[in-house]
Symmetry: C2
Subunit: 135 residues, 2 copies
DNA sequence: TGTTGACTTGGAGTGAACTCAAGGTAGTAA
DNA sequence: TTACTACCTTGAGTTCACTCCAAGTCAACA
């Protein structure tokens, strides 16, 4: 890890430079340090934070929640409890998401198996297929 | 199960009447049958389909993909293979999602444990917390 | 000394998926 | 008859999360 330009970070994390600047604008990333000419550079700490928020964003954690967390971090020691609380709330949301995701995956697998075994036969009416799945 | 009004379906599946009408407008739900006064009623087949699409929507399957699937269903037997293909694609997407979700959950759990054991101590600089997590 | 090319800014535009508002009708209850 | 409620339609508005655009700066290279 080293200090990377915005384009390098963009390539590393598959996230557009515009998005990186947007994240900074809304406070999801703090003020990024600059070269004498004004160009941003991203150090190790920033890259660690980026990795974290990109992972969580991919899982559907809202930008708002992450901005809240970032703001709490900026306020330092006084917000340790609030931060833990926020993380726990988000964890619960993600666990709900996973439960639902598991249901959907099972549903799709079951449905696909019906296609493969030919149990969804020709000539069925539009919705007949769905009665099978009322489980 | 019986024939339900739009409000009853709305309550049953926690989805707004406007959203139900919207789904119909865009072809995600087929023409819903009507009472003589024009009010919609949702029969068993429709409710089964709704349950399915709501589950998948909660898991992040796009409206577009579901509309495509609905259109294929409407076209009958000739689309059996295309339907199976579409389901398999969506299943793959969901499995990717689950892998990422698991990563995020582990990350959050780890982070919360750092808060609980006090390993995230007072007086740390803004990003120091994230260096711990470079794993 | 131009002319690339990578960066900068502020602000506007986009796409997905709802969500709402305005105005109208049908059926019931006082 | 009037009031109320639940439904209807069309079309516009909202939210979220980017994503793009135009115009400008700066460093390096021919």
């Amino acid at each position: 890890m080293a200090e990377l330009t915005i384009t390098e970070v963009s390539n590393k994390y598959h996230i557009k430079p515009d998005t990186l600047r947007y994240y900074e604008r809304i406070g999801l990333i703090p003020k990024v340090p600059r070269r004498p000419n004004g160009n941003r550079y991203y150090n190790d700490g920033l890259q660690g934070w980026l990795e974290m928020i990109i992972c969580l964003r991919h899982s559907g954690v809202s930008v708002e929640a992450l901005v809240d967390y970032a703001h709490l971090l900026e306020q330092g020691d006084a917000t340790l409890d609030a931060r833990e609380e926020l993380l726990k709330e988000q964890l619960e949301l993600l666990e709900e998401k996973r439960a639902n995701l598991d249901r959907s995956i099972k549903r799709l697998q079951h449905k696909i198996s019906l296609y493969e075994t030919g149990e969804i036969k020709k000539g069925k009416s539009y919705f007949e297929e769905y009665k099978i799945l009322d489980d």
